[in-house]
């Protein structure tokens, strides 16, 4: 019976999203939370069953290389994070008057979550493409939910680059199909030719497309505007989850090992470039956006050096960056503007949570960010490429400087008496995520065992 839960897992958030517009403004958030709780429950159950091996489901009973297959493997377990973080983002915004908790907003949020779950479960390249489009199109819409001036342009630029990436990915799917006569991931791997221009074109297309979706340097130009202008709850989903889909797509690409050298240098450039750009930002959300670029760099570097470390960092960074963006949202909510100096003294709990999150991004043990960075550094040393370990440590130092500079501005300027601590509905999701990041940091060894590439 177990495999039948795979299509159910995808159907819950998508059906929930389609039904969301019939609810009223007050009940839509509750509906969204309920749908995501159900998704989380099913995803957790399936993750628990992973110990017995990968779960496969042939859609419609068509045998595997011919029909559409759904698979639940270690990467698919990220669906738990998708459901959890989306739910906390809704909780964070509940009660506010913004577009995020309007029935339409909840619908788009749930469709995006459904697209991501489908993307994680897809076992053939075309299904992967379809779910990539579902999640991307909802992500463009989510950026446009912001009332800020310039959000329309930011969303449109995101759409142009994202759609171009999608076309290149579709072209590569077509090339792979003409080369191998198959779309199923396992089957394509078996039939892949040894070389030749069409194969390299397909691999290059997948890499370029997914790296753009992941916002790796220098393909990151759409990210800062989109993530900084979006409502904070949406930024948490975009930075925590949506960009990760690009990296997971890379992990699903056949013959990734042939791109070893390219991934190394793009990862290093992204790691260092993101950190340097973050250093010159005055706006908190832009700083967080560039720090995402840097962390994506770490993950891309990890794809070449230590795949377990990269996979762990996908999860850890999702939790941490979601916590940071929600905390930034709480600051901006209370301050009423992007000017946050001295606000830390008036909001001690949020500031403390933000500081723990910042330590996790920098990679100070025992927070979550440490495990991934440690493993990738070890990978660089084992591979005999110490230069990448140096770049990694350097970028961590620069990031530490960015966050320290900001924390000083938050906490050591004259307090602003008119500002109170963030409301409970905002504090609880932030504290939950921060606590989770500490737990994830402490069980780093178990996680590595669980991923075990």
């Amino acid at each position: 019976m177990t495999p039948h839960w795979l299509p159910v897992l995808i159907a819950i958030p998508i059906a929930g999203g389609v039904l969301a517009p019939v609810f009223s403004r007050r009940t839509a958030s509750v509906w969204g939370l309920g749908v995501l709780a159900a998704t989380l429950g099913v995803a957790l159950g399936l993750t628990g069953l992973l110990a017995d091996g990968v779960i496969s489901y042939p859609m419609g009973g068509w045998p595997v290389p011919f029909g559409i297959e759904l698979r639940f493997d270690v990467l698919s377990a990220f669906a738990t994070a998708v459901a959890l973080i989306s739910a906390l983002a809704i909780w964070f915004s509940s009660g506010s008057q913004g577009r995020v908790t309007s029935p339409e907003g909840i619908a788009v949020l749930l469709l995006c979550a459904g697209g991501m779950v489908g993307f994680l479960l897809a076992a053939d390249y075309f299904t992967l493409f379809v779910f990539l489009e579902i999640l991307s199109i909802s992500a463009y819409g989510m950026v446009a939910m912001s009332d800020e001036r310039g959000a329309g342009i930011a969303a449109f630029r995101y759409l142009l680059m994202g759609a171009a990436a999608s076309i290149v990915i579709l072209l590569s799917v077509g090339l792979l199909y003409t080369l191998t006569g198959s779309l199923n991931m396992g089957d394509v791997r078996l039939r892949l030719p040894d070389g030749g221009l069409p194969l390299y074109l397909a691999l290059g297309g997948f890499t370029a497309g997914f790296l753009l979706k992941a916002a790796a340097f220098p393909l990151h130009v759409w990210l800062p505007d989109a993530h900084a202008t979006a409502p904070s709850a949406v930024s948490a989903i975009l930075s925590g989850l949506v960009v990760k889909m690009g990296v997971i797509g890379l992990l699903r690409t056949p013959g990734l090992d042939q791109l070893h050298e390219l991934l190394l240098w793009i990862g290093a450039a992204s790691l260092l470039g993101g950190a340097l750009f973050a250093l010159v930002q005055d706006d908190l959300k832009r700083l967080l956006a560039y720090s995402t670029v840097s962390n994506i760099g770490l993950i891309v570097l990890g794809l070449a050096l230590h795949r377990t470390g990269a996979t762990i960092h996908i999860l850890n960074h999702a939790v941490v960056k979601a916590a940071l963006f929600l905390a930034a949202g709480a600051f901006i909510h209370r301050a009423g503007s992007r000017a946050l100096e001295g606000i830390g003294r008036s909001m001690p709990v949020t500031t403390a949570a933000f500081a723990v999150g910042a330590m996790a991004v920098i990679g100070i043990p025992p927070t979550a960010g440490f495990t991934g960075k440690w493993l990738v550094t070890l990978g660089a040393l084992h591979a005999g490429r110490p230069v990448f370990a140096v770049i990694l440590l350097l970028s961590s130092l620069i990031l530490a400087l960015c966050y320290a500079r900001f924390l000083v501005a938050l906490a050591f300027r004259p307090a602003r008496a008119d500002i109170r601590e963030a409301p409970v509905r905002m504090l609880v999701p932030i504290l939950l995520l921060v606590a989770l990041s500490l737990v994830l940091g402490l069980v780093g060894g178990r996680l590595a065992e669980f991923v075990g590439f």
Binding site: V130, Y140, R149, I153, L159, L160, I167
Partner: protein, 116 residues
């Protein structure tokens, strides 16, 4: 026959793809960028459809009168789905452009840069 002439369909789709890409990158009008995107999409669809074609192939419908060889139906099914995706992307793009035009009063990227 030279390989280029033999694969005339691939040559044509490549040219079409490049036209779309050029429009997407070089044109300063945002609506034309969306059109460029659509041209690129069409090129990829054409490429995938023609990859399923066989010289003298028949529609893949079994029954009385069916004759081998059949054309591969899978690329056609893929492209149908792809067209749906492309239409949705275009719809969202145009909706966003409506908002951009309402906020800034122009759709020209050079004019937008000054005001935003």
């Amino acid at each position: 026959m030279s390989p280029l002439l033999e694969n005339l369909d691939y040559v044509a789709t490549t040219i079409l793809f490049c036209i779309g890409l050029w429009t997407l990158i070089a044109d300063s009008n945002l609506i034309k960028k969306v059109m460029g995107l659509n041209i690129m999409e069409t090129a990829v669809f054409a490429f995938i459809v023609t990859s399923g074609m066989i010289e003298g192939g028949d529609a893949p419908i079994t029954g009385p009168g069916a004759e081998l060889p059949f054309m591969s139906p899978i690329p056609h099914a893929l492209v149908l789905t792809g067209i749906v995706v492309a239409v949705s992307t275009t719809a969202v793009a145009l909706a966003l452009l409506l908002r951009v035009h309402r906020e800034h009063g122009t759709l020209d990227i050079d004019e937008l840069r000054g005001r935003w």
